[in-house]
């Protein structure tokens, strides 16, 4: 038993009603001592019926603990049944967990998949599930994609550059709020920004909007040519798009961009995260 799974276990018991907790404790112990998958599969399936599906309530102290264990953790995107399911995952001995969890993935319903993907990072041998997490990025079900890509430290810690870039590109394609991707800036890379600039051009040629958050990652690519294109189109951008350009220019060293912004009073007081939130609220 690792500290993480013990901590998770304790945290869950505070969250549950006495009745639900009694059920959970019993199942947790069963799963922990099992050498076959049956108890885990049954308990995992039953969880929402036993614990309810309410949004998680987390106080400040617990949250800071959770953030240490799981960077990007945000209780707004967690429900009690998801957390309990993850607790059950972490109860399995690492001798069996890869086999059982992989098997469950192959028959999981949508919300089970969501809980499974959110939970992988808590596992002692999380790294062993990297291929599975990459498979999750290939889904067409948005809640499943979100479970891997958003507020989840797994990709940042375990994905190769190619797999990482797919997460970001697909999030942008699916119009997901990329400010919620953990490690967004730390893992930014030249190959990704080059693809993002190609994508922006594709969108412009098709007469479509470029997701404003794209500029957060592509800002290093801002040069004279790109600036000229942006200036040409600037009037057609909506206000958040314009603010994203303003923010990109604030963070660039390109003098002509700074001059143009100053002359035309192109400014914003939003941070990238605030811009991302504003976009998310708008969608």
């Amino acid at each position: 038993m690792t500290n993480t799974s013990e901590y998770l276990h304790q945290f869950i018991s505070i969250q549950l009603s006495p009745q639900a907790n009694e059920w959970f404790e019993k199942k947790y112990a069963e799963v922990q001592s099992s050498t076959t998958s049956r108890a885990f599969f049954l308990a995992f399936g039953m969880t929402p019926k036993k614990t309810g599906t309410e949004k998680l309530q987390v106080d400040k102290n617990s949250l800071s603990e959770l953030l240490k264990t799981y960077p990007g953790f945000n209780s707004n995107y967690w429900t009690i049944d998801q957390l309990c399911r993850v607790g059950l995952m972490s109860a399995i001995s690492t001798e069996y967990n890869h086999q059982w969890i992989t098997q469950l993935f192959s028959t999981a319903d949508m919300n089970e998949q969501v809980a499974l993907y959110k939970g992988l990072f808590f596992l002692e041998n999380a790294k062993d599930f990297t291929e599975q997490a990459i498979e999750g990025v290939r889904t067409n079900m948005q809640p499943v994609f979100d479970a891997v890509a958003l507020n989840n430290p797994f990709p940042k810690n375990y994905f190769s550059e190619g797999a990482w870039n797919q997460v970001v590109l697909k999030a942008i394609f699916m119009n997901r709020p990329i400010y919620r991707i953990v490690g967004l800036e730390e893992r930014n890379n030249e190959s990704l920004t080059s693809t993002l600039i190609d994508f922006a051009h594709e969108r412009w040629v098709a007469g479509r909007q470029v997701v404003p958050e794209l500029w957060r990652l592509a800002k290093e690519r801002l040069d004279s040519d790109l600036l000229t294109e942006i200036i040409e189109k600037f009037e057609t951008f909506d206000s958040l798009e314009q603010e994203a350009i303003a923010l990109m220019i604030q963070e660039t060293e390109l003098a002509e961009a700074k001059d143009w912004a100053a002359q035309n009073n192109i400014t914003t007081n939003k941070s990238w995260d605030e811009l991302g939130q504003a976009l998310e609220n708008q969608n």
Binding site: A108, Q142, P143
Partner: protein, 300 residues
Amino acid sequence: MRFIDPHIHMTSRTTDDYQAMRKAGIVAIIEPAFWLGQPRTEAGAFKDYFSSLVGWEQFRSSQFGIKHYCTMGLNSKEANNVPLAEQVMELLPQYVHKENVVAIGEIGYDDQTEAEDRFFREQIELAKEVELPILVHTPHRDKKKGTYRSMDVLEEHGVDPSMVVIDHNNEETCKEVLDRGYWTAFTIYPNTKMGNLRMVEVVKQYGSERIIVDSSADWGVSDPLSVPKTAHLMLEKGISKEDVHKTCYQNALEVYSKSGNMKESDWEDYSIDQADLHEGNSVLRGQTPKQGSSDNIVAN
């Protein structure tokens, strides 16, 4: 009005259908596990099909503002491949507790063979064990005897009729099924099952208690708007709004909510603006139809 189509195989339908269904007021559907036309030869094909019913298809449906449920089971036709059927029976326990599963079904008889009988009974026991309602498919051929036999077997296993929907009824089977206390479903299906003018007569004669209308639309010539069309035809023919509501919404909700997995609040999140559009929908227009020529008739 809002409708539930409690029997429709959306896997075989297009996005046009989903859009038309939502526009016509369908807010929730139940997709029973069935056979896909081409017989499966591997258990893995069943596994992936079951997974799609609890995964992809329910997500796809949600994209159109329709809440998707399903039933899990081995259909009677494929029960005749005994070695395969045995493997499917081993798969089922992994699926019966998924959150959009509202019954074991559709199970029952097709040719009424020994193998069909065996797996019907095994699945009745499974339903009892996991406390789920049962959806019974009644055979096309030898309908009356097959239907009666299905009920006999259910009673032999001590199943409470209020937990069972007997589907694909007609005028010949209706009275007995109702009298024995079962939920009595009618499939409005061009050419083979019921036409909806006949359905109107059934409701006129028997009322709306425990009667359920569905489309069973699948890969054959069928109509995913059978339920709303029948509802409108009933209204045109003078059946009360309350009876229409019961047969085309409430009764299905009542029986399948016994699973613990289906409740009205599940689709409250979906915008109701679209649901109300059906009044102006040309497919369903016909508040003053000419006798016998309404757009809402599914000929049979």
